[in-house]
Symmetry: C2
Subunit: 341 residues, 2 copies
Amino acid sequence: MNIKSVAKKAGVSVATVSRVLNHPDAVAPDTKEHILSVMESLDYTPNWFARGLKLNRTGVIALLIPDILDLGYMEIAKGVEDVAHQKKYNIMLCTTEEDRGKEKEQVENFLTRKVDGIILVSSFLKNSDLQQIKKQDVSVVLIGKNEDNTGANLVYTDYKAATSEAVKHMIEIGHRKIGMIYGTRPKLENMDKLEGFKKTLMEEGLNYRDSHIVEEENSIEGGYLAASKLLNQADRPEALFVSSDTMAIGAMEKIKQTGLRIPQDIAVVGFDNLKISGFMEPKLTTVAKPMYRMGLVAARLLFDLMEEDEQKEQEPQEILIQSKLKVRKSCGHQDRLKEIF
Amino acid sequence: MNIKSVAKKAGVSVATVSRVLNHPDAVAPDTKEHILSVMESLDYTPNWFARGLKLNRTGVIALLIPDILDLGYMEIAKGVEDVAHQKKYNIMLCTTEEDRGKEKEQVENFLTRKVDGIILVSSFLKNSDLQQIKKQDVSVVLIGKNEDNTGANLVYTDYKAATSEAVKHMIEIGHRKIGMIYGTRPKLENMDKLEGFKKTLMEEGLNYRDSHIVEEENSIEGGYLAASKLLNQADRPEALFVSSDTMAIGAMEKIKQTGLRIPQDIAVVGFDNLKISGFMEPKLTTVAKPMYRMGLVAARLLFDLMEEDEQKEQEPQEILIQSKLKVRKSCGHQDRLKEIF
């Protein structure tokens, strides 16, 4: 059964049947309905593989994220999905486990499968990799990155500036001995936060102690472990900036178990603004990272690139979406202001 | 550039090149390496679309879940992914929004794309739909279901039995006026929980009041709203069984805002055992639904079906994975036992 049999039985040209399959809006409703009913009567299913070969369009975009169990990445995925759904595209979602080799293997796999576009979160791709993908006529947009490349279409947030805003707020409300917990991964993101943390303290005339800065795995357990290391010190910090809400939740658990009060004995500020952070006790002060919006904007940029013929001529675009501090209870804003004024 | 050019340059038959692509383990290591290096020198990329046409294998399975932002579904996805990764398969992940029409559209899309297998979570597919998919030589496994169909390969958990275990525990530790909050979706799952709740109370010689049973959207906000409706009543319940941890988190927030203590004034038991539930205050007693395992088992069953030639002859398999009660603080186990003994 093929397109010719359908055309013959329907009494139309092959081109008309093809148009129903590929540009249904360009076919008169009556004709379309007639052809579709003939297809149904013949039990005809268009061969999408062949179609992929011919039209060079697959109706699929790939989304590569480091981890499927991370709620933040899922918010990005939701943003991408909402755009793809509108465009009647399907998403092929895969995880890289933030492993350079695995990411490359997945990208190569997608290239041989001829997807129309790829969105990569926290990617390790280098300029040369990006050039090679471009050559195969596949559009790419990065969300954040792990490699100091240029020449990429990129949607990102400024982790240094966001960290600086959070740390300045902690200083303003009276905290002096501020420590930091940060995650091993994603690497570049955490290095930016660490740099923003140190730089802000120094600019504000404060010192930081190396013993008050602890790196652990980016998980609830990692945050718990990092807090244990900090609370064991004779001269512990009075406030903690934590690089993710997930780690902050683990740190708060340890602080409470130790019998210390948050924020009176030790204040905590997280990063991400996960939905659940507003339901912790105390409610977590955090930096709201606009993850859904980053997914949405990245997907829109990708479709713009895919739909333009002259994309090869274009300068790569970098789109910055700012994060914003969200003040709740855990930083001690209220308590501190009472003491100061 | 095609497979013939590769064979010619490598000085081997087309069949040997094909074997390297399709059954690399059946080719002598030296030969394989030689052919792969020729492919590389010729910049040859196997055409996966054409390959799909010929071998009738695409290396892709589809996973349809109701909602991408639900942590429970993501745990299922992780289980599926771990098996797929081992089998060197990719997953195409899509959401149905628990909409019968959208689910059907997605399935049809996947059938025209010739995926090798489909896993559906909380599916509305009827027997006739399943038969039609089978005809196209695509294997299907359901995780839970929304339709009272038979004849499906199914991985499920017994919501009635699990609810009964939870409610019996609440009764054993002394609660009498027990209310319930349940979610609008997924429909069948919530109806099972509701039935298990009512039946257990009656079997234990207790009554339930219709005014103590509230249905709301399955979200934090829905749980909050449902709790508001219950707490407003003059004669409010002293314990709540909530159909999901997500809703339980919203209900606990409302209870705390009202100035009531959990569990002393009102006990709460959830369902799902999300990771975050162990970090709430108080820690949430809940039914541990083995979501990761359900994903794992479903994916293994799917690959078994895909790899067997005679699958059409087989009886559909139903695999039950039991949920288990996880007692923490929010149900008042400790407090109640002290009162009783």
